[in-house]
Amino acid sequence: MGVVHAISLLVAGIFLGQIMLLAGRHRLRDRHAFIWVMIGGAAFAAALGLPALNAISEAIGVAYMPSLVFLGAIYLILTLLMYQTMVLSSHQDGIRTMAQEIAYLRRVVEMNQNELEAATPNASGTARPAEASRS
């Protein structure tokens, strides 16, 4: 095992360990943890099979094997970024809907409070006139 191979295995192992630690401590949601475990596993497998990657890159005509690895890694990172943006957009839509619901419910609560106050007799035994019906 060469130095490069050993370092690749070490880094991939540390990365996989980090993911396992975060997933175990519930710092990552299960769905995201699963994706990261898959990626960490793939990185470790790639590090294990580093010699085979030389043969693959040679077979498909890539003279410098690390270029192939970086190409794959960059594609993976961009896909992950896109996925995270999708999750973010979905959360923003959720926050927007929640804010709209809060505004609506505030209004309903205020109207109900006004109606309650109007219906509750005061000390003199008369109810306060209800708010004008036109909004």
Binding site: A99, Q100, A103, Y104, R106
Partner: protein, 247 residues
Amino acid sequence: MPEPAAGLLRPFRSSILRRVRDLLIIIPAYNEADSIAATVAEVRAAVDYDFIVVNDGSTDDTARILDREGIPHLDLPINLGIGGAMQTGYRYAYREGYQYAAQLDGDGQHDPKDLPRLAHALEDGGHDVVIGSRFVEERGYRGGRARRSGIYYFQHLIRFLTGLKVTDPTSGFRLANRRVIEEFVKHYPVDYPEVEVVVSLARRGYRLAEVPVDMRDRAGGVSSITAVRSLYYMAKVTLFLVIRRVF
């Protein structure tokens, strides 16, 4: 002895919210403290429709003025932008059973006296949406050169994408029926929604028409459209309209 706790917990609805209604005017307001009271006063004097101001997380005195003046309003806890604010109003209109919803800017640019004409055009013409247009007839509104260029650009973009001739595609003075309100509750563009809404509705087969109206200068506040934002507006709207047409 009365049971206030039970009364408070009972999910009853205010009689005001239970009334059968027809048309709701939605007035989005973001930092419109200078003009919102006057706009509402004008609406009250001009027409007899219900209205609701959507305070889009304003950081000035808008919320205080709305409370102080007893103006019916929805208070968004955060700023959602014009699309989010309008959708809040449409969501309210839908929940409360309104048959029609009109949008009117909070800065006093739109004249509420034009609303009955929009309503008649919608009903008589069998349209789903009616847009108040500054350019159907020459009514003296000029606007800046950049604004007119933008409007001209969007006129042609809409024509290219839908075959529809819309003279004032950026007008925010609109009236929609309940079918469209329901559509807006499901989806309403987040920012710069006017042009996208026109294209989206036209492509879904909704019938749109324009009615000539007058528009005035802002009564207060500051327009959110700057030169850089205008360019972003045009690029963003064009890009997504084209993408959504293809995919």
